[in-house]
Amino acid sequence: MMTLTEPKLEGEVSSIRPLDVEEPNVHRAVADDARTRLSWEMRLVLLGAALVAGCVLYIVLPEIAYFIAVTLVLIALVAVSFAMDTQQSSWLISGAVALMHIAWIAFALQFTGHLNSPLLPLLYLVVVVYAICASSTQTGLVTGGAVIALSAQALMMGTASSAVLLTLASHSILLISISWIVSKYMTQLYQAHDTARHKARRYWEMTESSDDALLIVDPAWQVQEANATAARMLGNGDGPRLEGKNLVELLQLRHPEGLRPYQNQILAGESVSEIPLTTTGGNGTPHTLLFSALPIAEESQITTINVAIRDITELCQTQQELKHLEKFVAVRHVLTSLGHTLNNPLAIIRMSIQVAEVIGEEPDWHEIIRQLDRCNAAIRGLEVYVAGRDESTPVSDVNEVMEQALVLTQPQLMITGVELEQDIPANLPLAHANRHSLYHSFINIITYVWQTMEDWPGPRKLHIEARRRFEAVEIRFRSTGPSPEPGEVPELLKGTEPIEESQDKFMDMGLPVVYSTVQQAGGQVLVSPNRQESGMLVKIILPAANEEEVKRHKSSRGSVNK
């Protein structure tokens, strides 16, 4: 079933899902209707044949044989009725005919003296009640009339001539009933055609207005049909007709062999979705495309492939710009913190010297050295921050990393008026996580947390604690402030929300960085509302380092210290 994305509205940003299974394929719908029409023709032939056979049998066969023959006709009628479709009316008709059949046989047998049961009046009552119920619909009215007529026929078969007349009359009613059913279904068929035509028009309207390239190709990848976007995207802007051309060649892929496994998958009957492809950029600019395809099979044979292609070049560029912006914002925060951290000791050093000069005393050199050490620690923090990821340190001392992260983040907490509490035991096992990544994660979480509390009118607290949990190390950042809605959490972690307008915020970027970093370390990040009070809880669970890693960490530390 070829499907389309809804046409993109002005200013709307749709998700990158070129294929949407809700929209029907008009070709298939028309084919289904054709089958329906054929089936109905067959049904008419069958019904006509059954009626003729019933009349012939009545004339040539003895009375009981006639009833048996009519029974067979009615069974055929029931079967045909069941085969029509699953609509309610069809089931009603089928039920009516079945009951009519029972009544027919029962009253006929009673008349001929073969059966004399006290249940027969009850059976008759059931038939009448059913006829009344069924008459709530037009079809039911006709079949109900037929039932009553046939029942009357059976009761009144006193003489052979009256029996013949009434039987013919009842057959006429049955014929009218069937004609009614047929005309009703023919009307439905025309309505189905109208609907199919309407859908076809809508389909092509949507196809033409779609920002995605939509194509129907055959299993040899020859284009059968393509919309205007496809002509623009794949026809180098001059919009030539694409029909008959090979789609894979039209794509001008940088690595055509990369598509081959997917082609095989499609030809095996599996759909593919959002495969990123890069074109060579025949018009000078390489493009990034998302390729989706849905094979259509007729009797286990792939007949056509519906393809949707979206050009995401601009989106990729925007994402790239966002990444740069993220780095810029993060660095800006770190520099602000660093500035604050450095300015205090620098102010003390300067004032120590100047005041000593004014007062005429010797400066307190020990104090000056102490302040220089503070500056040095801050600079070291910055060095760690800007240093490249060191793969040789797969384990981290959470205490040490947290201390370093707080050097750069604590001033921001103070600025925001966030009260910080820490509870990290000294004997916490080493965590299996890259020290550099963990350091960045802590900075990002703390920055994220103080930003959520920046405009919070209530108490602003951040409680950081770490515990050993079996073979893992769990670090919790529990903050007051606004609580995330449960539905927001995946977006917070995976960064699907658009970036905030202000460049001061990296609320929509900080946690996704943490999420990917911790996942790479084999850990988990969980975000939930803070149950103790309003706010949020960010939990990082990292595997504890094994003995071998601890030994290696200690020995490397020893060599560094030497």
């Binding site: 205090n344 620098l346 102010a347 003390i348 300067r350 004032m351 005041v355 001033p411 600025i415």
Partner: protein, 130 residues
């Protein structure tokens, strides 16, 4: 430098060393100096004594300089007008926005002692005039 005898200054800063150094300088210049390590303490001291000027750090625990200033704006507007802010958060947009809106002088660390005495002189002169 002129020695402003009889004028009392309140230094509010959680950086004890810096506060002590400023105290030593100002006392040498003839000011009487009190110190508070946080905004809450300063609030109490401001209610008990009259000060010619308050040298107030912006970032402090418990009650920071911004909150302290806002309280004084409501409770002691005259004292609020005699506040000189001191901050090391020189790049912070939030801090800069606050200082700009407050209309009060601000010394950015590491400041020169001449800057301090000049600003202090301006503020205390206005106080003396009033």
């Amino acid at each position: 430098m002129e020695t402003p005898n009889g004028q009392r200054i309140l230094i509010v800063d959680d950086e004890d060393t810096l506060a002590r150094l400023m105290q030593a300088l100002l006392e040498h210049l003839g000011y009487a100096v009190d110190r508070a390590a946080d905004g809450e303490k300063a609030l109490q001291m401001g209610a008990q004594r009259s000060y010619s000027a308050v040298i107030c750090d912006l970032l402090m625990p418990i009650l920071n300089g911004m909150e302290l200033f806002r309280i004084w704006q409501h409770q002691s507007p005259e004292l609020a007008q005699r506040v000189i802010f001191v901050t090391g958060d020189n790049l912070g947009t939030r801090t800069n926005r606050f200082v700009e809106l407050s209309g009060q002088p601000c010394l950015y660390k590491p400041f020169d002692i001449n800057e301090l005495t000049t600003v202090l002189d301006d503020v205390t002169r206005v106080y003396a005039g009033s």
